[in-house]
Symmetry: C2
Subunit: 319 residues, 2 copies
């Protein structure tokens, strides 16, 4: 039986696919034997169980063809990220909102009540909140990306409530550190200030060093996404939105940990150059969320900031 | 200069139009000289300053034609109400969501940054909340109507933040008592149990007599909607969603007030016949919201439940 992963060529999508194809992974008692990636880019994984469909997730005909009878679940990770959705409003609306609607409607038309995992973000929250942010606090996004994610959350919940899908909304923390090149997320710097110095290159931090970030390693996050997909719907209850675990770390604490693991010269490769546009978005996000319920449901947080940096070195630098 | 009112043939829409055309009403210093109603039905008002366009609010061409250069503001009240949106999912999505998007895009294309008033509802909230519900608490709707309104709220806020419009989101309490026939809102009974007995007819209450309702008279509400439209945007701040004032009243308290004004025989015309479908929706709504900020902004609540019933008798029965 197959799982569809949109954004399967992306950073988290490709890692999620690998995790879903580990030995013996199941959903509702059925073994996952293959995964179909739908992405503008080809999925980089070299595995015969992965089928890569290159195309637009807003393309209804493509989605319908991908969604065969043996589909168990759809993990919707394809997105236009924060700074890009802020710069190009129409693109963000089309990919983050319209494509999500099209995908939900395709799932609704499927004979099986499909599991549907939606990757939302802490960017749905606005500034000035009590921290850690209690679960009842609502989205007041200060970016179009956050607004589009918050709308997706409501759709997934309503489609679930009506029984069209069996949805799970995961609000992701900022994932640190992502490998490769900087992307167009406003939070991209949080990875750059670890990744670039570890590669002996300079990096720029555009926000205040005291800014608290809500972080997770990709390793912990991908485990949590898989858990969200495999968890029984009844355990989640009626409202399907979850604040996934993270840890609260200031930029300074992140760099302190970098220094502990790679020395003062490495840390000295980070320059502070305030960027108002990025700061305005990132500083509107809370630095910590109440995660008591997700933890009780078996979701996991990284042990500490050193674990986060260590995970990056282990997963991507083999050190 | 004109104001457009969608749903201008409806209960609140028609009353809002009358209020906007009272002597000397202004928006941003400009006098309101005419109002255009866009509704599936003709606007019942007999006033040369009211133009009635009969058509679908989701019809982009119609909207564009209505939106002349002299438009100051759009009040978006047209909607498929709660029980109907629950019964007909596609219709609710089309009118409550797609039409709202189309309208927002038409406003965005207008040379002037238009004021945009969106009639949302307490139906955006879910069950089990601390009451009165604090302002930071988010929508967890248990109806498609509530989900569609909550999505509209997010869109109006994001379009405002980007400067495409100058938006105002008003979350309305249940309005009691509306005149005329019962409608397809789940809360329709709250008007029926006042209106029908006062007309000497029997009425059915489908919910628990102890259920607290969050109510406003149409009179107070229409004043509040006009105030929301006329208020300076800076006073509202960045986040444009307001919980409009209401009063917390149980069904029993409402009937006690009816009895005080019309006698025990009138009250005895109300039968209790539980209806699970209606109860499920209405009981998920909170019975009271924190309205400290709206009150400080000049919005007004009815003095008490007797005022609410008295307003109905005065406005609609001339007693
Ligand atoms: N990484 C983070 O810090 C973080 C934090 C919060 C939320 N998220 C969310 O998690 C998800 C995955 O994030 P990521 O870091 O892997 O992002 P990513 O940018 O690495 O991957 C996104 C993928 O979506 C694809 N995509 C974009 N538009 C598409 C379209 N129209 N059709 C098909 N594919 C399209 C891209 O090609 C890319 O491969 C996203 O939904 C993102 O919003 C990520
Ligand atoms: N009355 C309440 O208790 C209450 C409570 C909360 C929110 N609201 C909201 O206030 C607004 C007005 O409510 P109301 O009580 O006056 O409702 P109403 O039903 O009396 O009026 C709604 C109007 O919208 C029109 N309409 C519906 N679909 C349309 C379409 N596709 N194109 C054009 N017009 C269309 C209808 O013809 C009707 O005249 C609605 O948005 C409603 O959701 C009302």
């Amino acid at each position: 039986m197959q799982v569809i992963v949109t954004g399967g060529a992306g950073f988290l999508g490709a890692r999620l696919i690998q995790t879903l194809l580990e030995e013996g992974q199941r959903i509702e008692g059925e073994t996952i034997t293959r995964v179909t990636s739908i992405d503008l880019a080809p999925c980089p994984l070299d595995d015969p169980r992965v089928e890569s469909w290159v195309g637009d997730v807003a393309d209804k005909a493509l989605i319908e063809r991908a969604m065969g009878d043996d589909t168990l679940a759809v993990c919707h990770l394809a997105a236009v990220v924060s700074s890009q959705a802020e710069a190009d409003f129409e693109l963000g609306m089309r990919v983050n909102l319209e494509a999500t609607q099209a995908l939900l409607d395709a799932c609704r038309a499927h004979p099986r009540r499909l599991r549907f995992l939606f990757a939302s973000s802490l960017a749905v929250f606005g500034p000035g909140l009590e921290q850690p942010v209690p679960e009842v606090v609502g989205p007041q996004p200060r970016s179009s990306y956050g607004a589009q994610k918050a709308i997706g959350e409501l759709l997934v919940n309503d489609y679930s409530r009506r029984g069209f899908i069996d949805g799970r909304v995961c609000r992701l923390p900022t994932i640190v550190a992502r490998p490769g090149k900087p992307n167009q997320a406003a939070s991209s710097f949080a990875s750059s200030i670890i990744r670039e110095p570890l590669a002996g290159q300079r990096a720029v931090c555009p926000v205040d060093p005291d800014l608290p970030l809500w972080l997770s390693s990709p390793r912990a996050m991908v485990g949590n996404l898989r858990h969200a997909l495999q968890l029984d719907g009844d355990a989640l209850g009626e409202w399907r939105t979850l604040n996934l675990p993270g840890i609260t770390v200031t930029v300074t604490q992140l760099l302190d940990a970098l220094e502990r693991q790679a020395g003062a010269e490495t840390r000295a490769l980070v320059d502070f150059e305030p960027d108002a546009a990025i700061d305005k978005i990132v500083a509107s996000w809370p630095g910590g969320l109440d995660i008591e319920r997700p933890l009780s449901l078996g979701f996991q947080a990284d042990a500490d900031v050193d674990t986060v940096i260590h995970a990056y070195r282990e997963d991507y630098l083999n050190t």
